[in-house]
């Protein structure tokens, strides 16, 4: 056993699994499968990340190109838990259509609901997201809803029956990290369903800081896929997620803007 797996095994004993909708996931990291330079790098990076749940998108089969472009030619659905998304949808109606197509693929009834409201920022259309969430939850979907870092909308999505609420750290693909840790903490404090921070994490310190806010997990894609070495970054993220989680559970020392010595003041020589 290497030092890393030993440390990870010890860390796992100090934390429970990520439980969403009655399903326990060993890792608190969820990763996307988009934008990798090659399928082999994608699979290697996902394995290195330790994530069990991976997101996929629903798209037309390209009839003019290779038949191997479907992700399931590269990613074994027995090894990973597939979370289909509704990425690219700009209306509730489109999101419902994509979600139903995803479920018809026959793997599970889970959906990462995402309704985009603006092309420039890719910020979510929360009104349309809520509308779609209600319909999908009513149809028996396990909805994990991507949303803004807005407490009220997060509460509404929970009320709508979502199994997890996923506020952004910062815009999709921006790598800016958590721009509003206070709102993320507030959402986590008030919701009963798991809170997964989705989008905006850029590097390991971002992932660690995100987990230190007390959230249940992090979903990322570009931070791995666009790293110069995605496999190394995936290892780093795996460790950062665990580190941030344990630091949160441990409870940090109070921060103060004065120095306090760590060694005794008594017993000094004359």
């Amino acid at each position: 056993m290497t030092e890393n797996t030993d440390a990870l095994a010890q860390a796992r004993a100090l934390d429970g699994p990520l439980t969403i909708g009655g399903h326990a996931f060993p890792s608190r990291l969820i990763v996307g499968t988009g934008k990798y330079t090659t399928n082999q790098v994608m699979v290697d990076a996902i394995r290195a990340s330790g994530a069990e749940m991976v997101t996929v998108a629903v798209r037309r089969v390209d009839l003019d190109r290779t038949k191997e472009e479907g992700i399931l030619h590269h990613l074994d659905p027995k090894e990973f838990f597939l979370l289909a998304n509704t990425a690219g949808c700009y209306t509730a109606e489109d999101a419902l259509r994509y979600a139903r197509l995803a479920r018809a693929a026959g793997f599970n009834e889970w959906i990462k609901l995402e309704v985009i409201g603006d092309q420039a920022t890719l910020l979510p259309d929360v009104a349309a997201t809520l509308e779609a969430a209600k319909v999908l939850a009513g149809e028996g979907f396990k909805v994990m809803a991507y949303t803004n870092d807005d407490l009220i909308m997060a509460l509404r999505l929970e009320d709508a029956g979502c199994v997890a609420v996923m506020p952004l750290a910062s815009p999709i693909g921006s790598g800016l990290g958590v721009v509003n840790p206070y709102f993320i903490r507030e959402i986590k404090r008030r919701l009963h369903v798991p809170v997964i921070v989705d989008a905006g994490v850029g590097t390991a310190s971002d992932a660690c800081v995100t987990m230190e806010q007390g959230v249940d997990g992090v979903l990322m894609n570009t931070a791995l896929a666009a790293a110069k070495d995605p496999v190394r970054m995936a290892h780093a993220m795996r460790l950062a997620i665990v580190a941030g989680r344990l630091a949160f559970l441990a409870g940090r020392m109070p921060s103060r803007e004065i120095a306090v010595p760590s060694s005794p003041l008594e017993g000094m020589l004359d």
Partner: protein
């Protein structure tokens, strides 16, 4: 009935295509070298159950969408 040399016009993933007459959805997928278990079919805006592929005839003017999972975040 096997596909004949007579063709019909269908809309396939947004493009007009001429395909042989007499195809079922299953035989059409096979002719496109697509694995039925990895593709979801929407026929005229309705999702077609996988166990109906073999019994569903493709007809002139049908609008078919063939989708699958690709990489995404």
């Amino acid at each position: 009935m096997s596909p004949s040399t007579t063709t019909i016009k269908v809309r396939l993933n947004g493009k007009e295509r001429d395909i042989g007459e007499g195809h079922t959805v299953r035989s059409l997928l096979e002719s496109l070298e697509l694995h039925p278990a990895l593709v979801v079919v929407e026929l005229n805006k309705e999702i077609l159950a996988r166990d109906a592929y073999g019994d569903t005839q493709v007809r002139e003017g049908d609008n078919l969408e063939l989708v699958h999972f690709v990489g995404g975040g």
